[in-house]
Subunit: 252 residues, 2 copies
């Protein structure tokens, strides 16, 4: 039986990134896509609990079925696993995101949330992003890398609760692959202030991502700056075990 | 100078939980609240980038100012730090959430996202939740615990990039405090299917949280089940360092 590959994204099922990803992976298995019916960037791991969600089939061909879903990326993954696959997928793949999900951006990412959902369900999961926000970005140079990474994960699996967050630099040819850690940092100067016609303030989110250790050659940010494809292994267990030990000495 | 305490939540500025939290912490410092103008449960770390956001002052008293913001919990925290404090807060406190944020729920939590934002900005941050979804839940038994935990964090600080996720069991008196790790697991049977008047399927999110190691006495879930207050130290660095090492041997 061919591997079952569940695909989703956060840019919506019509985005070029997910259409390219689907074509790249069709030679590798049977494809089910359940993706948001509209752009849902920066959705984080948000889920929908105060209104119901639904999905409709928008395309069906040999070896591929595509559903558009009213929910968030995490909702799409949950609903797919619950309703739209006839067996547990062999892999969950998300993207290809239009824009970076490296560094702390991973926390805000709908693309990565899909793979966190997959990892919670014990399914090997990989998120792909290209550091180019252009709606018509060129994803072709990624093809052999994407196929090889998915093949390797299908072959080797991933530990329970872990996933791969893969980011591609904006310019190809790529220098190769680096296995990285998540660069830590913070967004600065995040808002620009504007005024409405009636002189009320409003704010647009933007800003600059400041890397805490820009010279750390293990950082995903560093690898991308140097032209490497950055694979950052992520785990859903966010426990700070060293702080656990330290707090044993607190007077609580 | 009194400590500056920034408060937010995901149930909205009118929720009982945040009003109780604010009263508990007024004796400890100067309070600025920037909270969503409506309920935003399960917002995860989502942020708003396709429309602008705004906030308005809804209350000002000696030592306390309250703003209601159109954004998500993470937006509220970002906007507060950018626009509504005159110095860096000494601590970011979120909650008190109506309902649990222990275990993997932490990923979906708007309450915890506020403290992740604080931690990224290098500010000691603590999230408080009561495992009781009742809008009129009784938060009073938490008072001395909340005050003592906040006092300790103000005194000792927290390592950069770490935060405390504190969950209270539904029934008091509490048996004491346990320093815990995040219980891993997954939500099962997550959707109920319904039909519209026109026979289209729609789905409500719900389900059962399955703990992977229910007998692990270090789990936050276990501690809560036993009647303890569970403090789970969390870090924003989600890198899986052991998988990084393992993947060095992959043929990529």
């Amino acid at each position: 039986m061919k591997p079952l590959i569940l695909i989703s994204n956060d840019d919506g099922y019509l985005a070029k990134g997910i259409r390219c990803l689907t074509e790249m992976l069709r030679p590798l298995g049977e494809i089910v896509v359940v993706a948001p019916d509209r752009p849902r960037s920066a959705a984080g791991c948000s889920i929908t609990s105060t209104v119901p969600i639904s999905a409709k089939m928008v395309r069906k061909e040999e070896g591929m079925t595509v559903y558009a879903c009213t929910g968030t990326p995490a909702d799409c993954t949950k609903l797919a696993l619950s309703q739209y696959v006839d067996r547990t997928p062999d892999i969950v793949v998300s993207g290809i995101n239009h824009g970076t999900n490296a560094t702390i951006n991973e926390h805000y990412s709908g693309t990565v949330s899909i793979t966190k959902e997959g990892a919670m369900h014990g399914i090997p999961s990989v998120a792909f992003s290209l550091c180019d926000f252009d709606e018509d970005a060129d994803f072709n140079p990624m093809t052999s890398y994407v196929q090889q990474i998915v093949r390797m994960v299908l072959e080797k699996g991933l530990p329970y609760g872990s996933l791969l967050n893969v980011n591609f630099p904006p310019v190809s040819p790529y220098k190769g692959i680096k296995i990285c850690k998540m660069a830590l940092g913070v967004w600065k100067d995040e808002f620009t202030r504007h005024e409405t016609y009636y002189n009320k303030d409003y704010y647009w989110l933007g800003g600059v991502n400041i890397d805490r250790d820009p010279n750390d050659t293990l950082n995903d940010n560093w690898a991308l700056d140097q032209g490497y494809v950055a694979i950052t292994p992520i785990k859903i267990d966010e426990t700070d075990y060293s702080l656990m030990e330290e707090m044993a000495g607190w007077n609580l």
